[in-house]
């Protein structure tokens, strides 16, 4: 250890800790299997844990998928929740209305989301900066509205305001099954990002992010690359949506197209570091745990003096807003920037970040 710089040491400790947590998260649920129970293995998890862990894995998928269009390509997509919703409703409709089996319906979720992204991406990705951001936000809002309100022969086509109920997927241990399914989706999205970053395609995307005109000049087909990145991001997000619909058994506009997910996935990617392979996933774990903690679903909860417990959800939102403001102002390169060992967390670092962006 002698001779190793302090930041490198922290880097190792951080990675070791992350691996230990990951191993526990992946293996602990196995103790709930009846085979393990009959061997008197102590139970390390409960139902609540499954629910939260599955939600966290879901956000790992969404933040990692957003990173492909937002972090690698540099297009500030603000409406990715549309793809989550489309994925959820694709699987949901195929199961509930067409009576398809779940495992047959699920692969069509990413396909539908990617096809939709390619369709809207062709006009939208011609826009830059603010224009793309708000136009994509608008698509997110509009799709949710259309899904809730479209009628077919006088009946709401997608379940309307009362939502869509799916038959329960019968398998021995549902909680365990969906946790591992979502975890698999998370692993796939991280692997896809890793592959993209090492491919010609990934270099093209980064070239577009750094300078789109220059990328076009050196022969990157920018339109095709951008649309492909958007569709890839949509496919992964749609996969999470498809799993969510069968896991949750009930979907409606509110839980399939929640506007706040748009910002949450961006904030997660930002916290962890955009453009990296593991950053968005780390950000998703940390931020989602915090959100769960603030909204009182964890065993450890927050209680403030003088605040009635029914006001806590509102207070939690305010705290989240304050956090957003603080992170944006003080750590524009992501929190991972100093935990990852590239910079040291110090007053000087915070001052420098502040000076770089203010007038």
């Amino acid at each position: 250890m002698i001779g190793m710089s302090a930041s490198r040491l922290w880097n190792r400790i951080f990675i070791g800790l992350a691996l230990a947590v990951l191993a526990y998260a992946v293996l602990a649920p196995l103790t709930s299997l009846s085979a393990a129970q009959s061997l008197n293995v102590p139970l390390l998890t409960d139902r609540l844990w499954f629910r939260i862990a599955t939600i966290i894995a879901m956000f790992v998928v969404m933040a990692t998928a957003w990173n492909i269009i937002g972090g690698l390509t540099g297009y500030a997509a603000f409406g990715n929740v549309a793809f989550f919703g489309i994925g959820a409703y694709t699987t949901g409709m195929l199961i509930a209305k067409a009576k398809w089996p779940f495992l047959l319906a699920l692969p069509l979720s990413p396909v539908a989301a990617a096809a939709f992204a390619a369709l809207v991406g062709l006009p939208l990705l011609r826009l830059r900066g603010h224009y793309f951001a708000v136009a994509s936000l608008g698509v997110g809002v509009a799709v949710g509205e259309l899904v809730q309100n479209i009628d077919y022969q006088g009946q709401p086509m997608f379940g309307g305001a009362s939502g869509l109920f799916l038959p329960i997927f019968s398998i021995g241990d549902r909680g365990l099954f969906f946790f591992y399914l979502m975890l698999g989706a998370a692993a796939i999205s991280i692997a896809v990002t890793w592959l993209v970053l090492r491919s010609r395609f990934g270099y093209g995307l980064i070239a577009i992010r750094e300078n789109e005109e220059a990328a076009a000049v050196i022969g990157v087909n920018t339109t095709a690359y951008k649309v492909a990145a958007y569709a890839l991001s949509a496919a992964l997000t749609g996969l999470a949506g498809g799993i969510f619909s069968q896991w949750n058994v009930f979907i409606n506009q509110e839980n399939a197209f929640p506007i706040e997910y748009n910002v949450q996935m961006i904030l997660m990617a930002l916290l962890g570091g955009t453009g990296t392979v593991f950053g968005p996933a780390a950000g998703a774990v940390v931020l989602q745990l915090l959100i769960q903690f603030l909204s009182g679903t964890l065993p450890v909860t927050l209680s403030l003096p003088f605040v009635p417990s029914d006001a806590m959800p509102v207070i939690a939102q305010i705290i989240l807003g304050l956090m957003l403001v603080i992170v944006v102002i003080f750590a524009p390169r992501g929190v991972i920037d100093f935990f990852g060992g590239r910079s040291r967390l110090s007053l000087a670092y915070l001052r420098r970040s502040l000076r770089e962006t203010s007038i």
Binding site: P123, R126, G138, A142, L267, G321
Partner: protein, 289 residues
């Protein structure tokens, strides 16, 4: 024919509100290059201020509008001076996230104070209107349209005829050159944001008289303001007013299509916006910059 005239009137009256929401939003966007996602929240703060003054002191809602403007100017000035000035040189994603954070805080503070009950401002003359043949023109929205045009004219006057306004235009044209000739950037940015917030406050006061308000009722206005500014073209107050009136008209006619109803308002607005952006990015009246 009567229906057509009535729809045009409804559209123009609604368009006045969109115009005044849009000019504040467009000013901040054009000068600071910030798309202010908290604009709708500022609108609703103005609406609650009017509601509170009307309910507690029985003040006529139209008389509360100058107070809304002053209070929101102060709030906007402080917001820009303390927070947003710190990220004006950051990538656009950060300005989005910061203003979204401000929006989240503002809406939830309103929820804490006012709960999510519907509130409305109903002076004795609300709901009345004049009948011209078979066409009805309600008084409150008519007066609101008048106020909106007045606010837009006042803003244009401030920008083009006062020292502070010229400083704002100079900063918008070239930030560094403006600083070189001695313009205080931090102050000018804060004044710009304050003016935008003041417009939002007046818009909120008008909205409180026309619809029932809740703390979350402002969010659609942020998106609509964006569409209005795109439609008219960024950079001039008059263009945004035209964008607002056009948006009101389009919405009125879209809602009159049988079967669609009002539920597709956002879908129509955004479809329209994407169409304009792709075919005529400078807006109906804008100049390419």
């Amino acid at each position: 024919m009567t229906d057509f005239v009535q729809l045009v009137i409804i559209g123009l009256l609604a368009g006045g509100i969109y115009a005044v929401v849009g000019v504040g939003f467009g000013l901040v966007w054009g000068v600071l290059n910030i798309v202010n996602l908290a604009h709708g929240a500022l609108v609703i703060v103005g609406a609650y201020l009017t509601w509170q003054l009307f309910t507690s002191f029985g003040l006529d809602p139209f008389l509360t509008l100058p107070l809304d403007a002053v209070a929101l100017f102060a709030l906007g000035y402080l917001l820009q001076r303390s927070l947003i000035n710190r990220i004006v040189r950051a990538p656009l994603l950060f300005t989005f996230l910061l203003t979204f954070g401000v929006n989240l805080i503002a809406v939830n503070i309103l929820l804490l104070i006012f709960k999510s009950d519907f509130r409305s401002v109903t002076p004795s003359y609300s709901g009345q209107g004049m009948e011209l043949g078979s066409v009805v023109i309600p008084y409150v929205p008519l007066a609101s349209l008048g106020v909106s045009l007045l606010v837009a004219a006042a803003l244009a006057f401030v920008l083009n005829r006062t020292r502070a306004g010229l400083a704002i235009l100079a900063v918008a044209a070239d930030r560094d050159a403006a600083q070189l000739v001695g313009i205080d950037l931090r102050h000018t940015y804060a004044v710009t944001f304050g003016l935008g917030a003041a417009c939002a406050g007046v818009a909120g006061g008008l909205i409180a008289m026309i619809q029932a308000i809740t703390p979350t009722a402002g969010e659609p206005y942020t998106l609509q303001a964006f569409v209005v500014v795109i439609l008219g073209g960024l950079g001039r107050v008059s263009a945004t007013v035209v964008g607002g009136l056009a948006f009101g008209l389009i919405e009125a006619f879209a809602q009159s299509i049988p079967g669609s109803g009002s539920v597709f308002a956002n879908a129509i607005a955004f479809g329209l916006m994407v169409l304009v952006l792709v075919t005529r990015p400078q807006g109906l009246l804008g100049r390419l910059r």
